[in-house]
């Protein structure tokens, strides 16, 4: 049996089993689907069963990069300014402060741990620590969405906290993608040949340029196209090209495609159709991404268990503290309460995507530590992320602190 055939058979069977099981679990126990594909990937990968060999992982490289890029476009398409302006500015202020603080706290703490406890030179530790910061800030969007759907049945859904969580989830994704995009610009390997290597600022301009120029050009290219098939072809080509260009230049595909998604969402008349097309293939691509993320995992040495555990703990604390500080700084403590950061603990496929993207460019032990930390965190928190959200929102609702503060939605 060839690896390709094995892969198809196992992935298909695993997908169907996971879908049936996860569907039932999600309906009954409010459990988010996603992490099980990571486990499936680990089991199929070269470290456990070997059904997905290192060669297969390499041959699927373009699909993985495309899946990462597609994720960026989906995230970007959520930033529709007109819709965003319907909510009060404080929501974004809180979300932004929370996100930046998490990146800073986790990134700083991991830098200290790597340099002080493991004697990693500062320059070598900078990229993994900053990447961990970027990974840490991401929140499980599917957990919040699932909880919101469930809570829609009761009055708790009307609380501004749920809206705050949705805004924060989006902001976390944007900040995580941006932070990671900048990290790859800073630690960029010089290009081959005799040309002068671009500076980090120039790489950042190139990254943003791929997204902005790409977004504008595709907006003009797509025009008012509404036929779903033609729209799909053009959009798939655009995302493939942008992801491929970014990956070819050894930059993150997430940031340019997020910009393309945002530009199309805000400028295209056919944004609704674009959104539908983007979401149509999102699920299968996420599946591929998560399975390959699991398969690409390598067991780190015992020495590295400490920073992995430290990352998970520091992230949890950072999420809770940052949420509390952001709320206080924005004067929203009354409306949101003190412990809403607990609802942001869940991590989903974006964390796995960033980690896998980092791993693609750097195959060192340190990058494997980053990768492992992200996967462990996703495994530990994603399944129950919706339950965290529901618990926090319900508790907040029971306390009744919201009625006094008034609904922040306009």
């Amino acid at each position: 049996m060839t690896s390709g055939l094995t892969l198809v058979a196992v992935v298909a069977a695993g997908y169907l089993a996971a879908r049936v099981a996860a569907g039932a679990l999600a309906r009954r126990f409010l459990i988010v689907s996603g992490a099980e594909y990571l486990i499936l990937g680990v089991l199929l990968g070269p470290r456990v069963s070997g059904l997905i060999s290192a060669n297969v992982i390499d041959s699927f490289g373009p699909f993985i990069t495309l899946a990462i890029g597609w994720m960026g476009a989906v995230i970007g398409s959520e930033f529709h300014l007109k819709r965003m302006l319907r909510f009060r500015g404080e929501l974004y202020q809180v979300a932004f402060i929370e996100a930046v603080l998490v990146v800073a706290i986790v990134g700083g703490a991991m830098l200290a741990i790597l340099t002080r406890l493991f004697d990693v030179p500062l320059l070598d530790a900078l990229a993994p620590a900053a990447s961990l910061g970027a990974i840490a800030v991401t929140t499980s969007a599917s957990g919040i969405a699932l909880a919101a759907r469930r809570l829609a049945r009761d009055r708790a859904a009307r609380t501004p906290l749920l809206r705050q969580l949705q805004v924060t989830g989006g902001m976390d994704a944007a900040v995580g993608v941006l932070a990671f995009g900048i990290v790859l610009c800073i630690v960029h390997v010089p290009p081959p040949g005799d040309i002068r290597p671009p500076t980090p600022t120039e790489w950042a301009v190139i990254t943003i340029g791929i997204g902005v120029v790409g977004g504008i050009l595709y907006h003009l290219f797509l025009g008012g196209e509404r036929d779903p098939d033609r729209l799909f072809v053009a959009l798939a080509a655009a995302i493939t090209l942008a992801s491929g260009t970014a990956a070819y230049a050894r930059l993150s595909p997430l940031l340019p495609t997020m910009l393309i998604g945002a530009i199309l969402a805000n400028t295209a008349r056919n944004r609704h159709e674009i959104g539908l097309v983007l979401h149509r293939v999102q699920h299968p691509l996420y599946l591929v991404l998560l399975i390959f993320a699991g398969a690409a995992w390598r067991v780190p040495g015992r020495l590295w268990v400490l920073p992995i555990v430290a990352f998970i703990l520091i992230r949890m604390l950072a999420k809770m503290w940052s949420a509390r500080i952001a709320t206080r700084l924005s004067g929203m403590s009354g409306a949101l309460g003190r412990d809403w950061g607990l609802a942001l603990i869940g991590q989903g496929s974006l964390a796995a995507a960033i980690a896998l993207n980092y791993r693609i460019f750097d195959d060192s032990d340190l990058s494997n530590v980053v990768f492992t930390a992200a996967l462990v965190s996703v495994l530990a928190t994603d399944l129950l992320s919706a339950r965290f959200v529901r618990a926090v929102v319900r508790r907040h609702h029971r306390r009744g602190g919201l009625a006094a503060a008034g609904a922040p939605e306009r």
Binding site: D58, P62, L220
Partner: protein
């Protein structure tokens, strides 16, 4: 026009970024693939604006940006994208098989068989004779002894008579054509796909007797028979499995169709059976074993994904066309193309009369049989493998012939569909639509 300008800007930007990157983890393949789809889409739109079939635009884009011309898509990237191309072929074959209904085969099977028999036999004889007569003008055939000339002539003829299910399906999907010309063409094309492999095995045996090959291993009559029977068997099993899935699960049909197509092509590769025939059978069995509504749902899910698949398949096919080789062989190719087209015309007319098919139908069906791709390319590679002395040159000749037919065929088929009044968008402009002459 606007899209063409944007494509040029994108092309310039991609070229500008080239020195800054390195091809790791398939990123270059992805970059060029994205560009190729965008280019194919744009040129396809231009072709449509010029009232031509979009598939020709996709192929032209592939040729222009492929390794033989501008080189934006490199040989290495094409190799890396081979699985994508194979998956596209598998999906097209699956879809083509699902288009055939058992009732239709039962009702029109004899008609299709008669048209196909006449067309194939006439095509085979005419092409063999033409190539034998003109062998002094074909560079590598000039020096060959007579038995080898006959061997080459029958081999070329047995491959040149193959049609293209991919082009047929692409045109039917693009134009939404429905009617007797569309159905008859599709039926003949799919039946030919089965028969031609048998015919090829026979001619290969004859060619081996006339020009003993140094390569004893590889291809045998038994092997080729297994390719057909095994394909039918594997397709039957896989189709049955798909029908079971549709009955008991019936969710995520698009993803399931992609997985089934991939699985089918992988199993076919492992079992050494003909992949296109395997997937044709799978689609046919799945569609006809399933309850009508479920089969229809699967077909619709696949049709929704067909547009991108066609863009990918034809753009990648175009990229593999060696423009220079075609140009060099043009003096030999043009007469062959004319003889082939004339034989198809005459054979279809003859078969149509035999099957008592209205002239309006047989007069248009032949235009849909000119295209070539897929199976023919595979058979050309078999010849190159079996006859190392002249096989490579023969393969180049065949690939050039296939490339030209692939470019001309869709234009002719589209014309036939419009002429027969089976294209909804073009209906009304015709005084005598063929649909009215449908005997069934």
């Amino acid at each position: 026009m606007r899209r063409a300008v944007i494509l040029l800007i994108v092309f310039g930007l991609v070229e500008l970024l080239r020195p800054l990157g390195s091809a790791g983890y398939g990123s270059q393949a992805l970059l060029t693939f994205g560009f190729l789809i965008l280019a194919a889409y744009t040129v396809g739109e231009v072709a449509k604006a010029m009232r031509g079939p979009a598939v020709v635009g996709y192929m032209v884009a592939g040729m222009v940006f492929g390794p033989a011309a501008l080189g934006t898509v490199s040989e290495a990237a094409l190799t890396r994208l081979e699985p994508v191309s194979a998956l596209a072929v598998a999906l097209i074959a699956f879809l083509a098989g699902a288009e055939l209904r058992w009732e239709e085969l039962r009702d029109r099977g004899i008609t299709l068989l008669k048209v196909m028999t006449a067309e194939l036999l006439l095509g085979f004889v005419a092409l063999s004779a033409a190539l034998y007569a003109a062998h002094d003008y074909v560079p590598f055939m000039r020096e060959l002894p007579t038995p080898q000339v006959i061997a080459v002539a029958v081999l070329v003829a047995s491959i040149a008579i193959v049609h293209s299910p991919a082009v047929t399906m692409a045109l039917l999907t693009e134009t939404h054509a429905r009617g007797p010309v569309a159905r008859t063409t599709l039926g003949v094309v799919l039946l030919t796909d089965v028969v031609v492999v048998l015919l090829f095995s026979g001619t290969l045996t004859l060619a081996r007797a006339l020009a003993p090959s140094t390569q004893s291993a590889g291809v045998s009559v038994g092997g080729i028979s297994w390719e057909i029977l095994g394909a039918l068997l594997v397709g039957l099993l896989l189709g049955g499995a798909v029908a079971v899935y549709l009955r008991f699960v019936g969710e995520e049909l698009l993803l399931f169709a992609v997985v089934a197509a991939f699985l089918g092509s992988e199993v076919a590769r492992l079992a050494h059976v003909e992949a296109v025939l395997t997937l044709l059978t799978t689609g046919f069995v799945a569609e006809n074993l399933s309850q009508r509504q479920r089969g229809k749902a699967l077909r619709h899910a696949m049709e929704r994904s067909a547009a991108p698949v066609f863009v990918v398949f034809f753009a990648l096919s175009g990229a593999t066309i060696d423009v220079m080789a075609v140009a060099v062989l043009l003096p030999v190719l043009l007469p062959l193309i004319v003889v082939r087209a004339a034989a198809i015309w005459a054979g279809t007319r003859l078969g149509g009369r035999w099957a008592r098919l209205p002239r309006e139908i047989s007069g248009n069906v032949w235009l849909g049989l000119v295209s070539q791709a897929g199976v023919a390319i595979g058979l050309a590679s078999v010849v190159a493998e079996v006859f190392p002395t002249f096989g490579t040159q023969l393969r180049t000749l065949l690939l050039a012939l296939i490339a030209l037919n692939q470019l001309v065929g869709p234009i002719l088929f589209r014309r036939a569909l419009i002429q027969s009044g089976e294209v909804p968008a073009a209906r009304g402009a015709l005084r005598h639509p063929v649909a009215a002459a449908d005997p069934t």
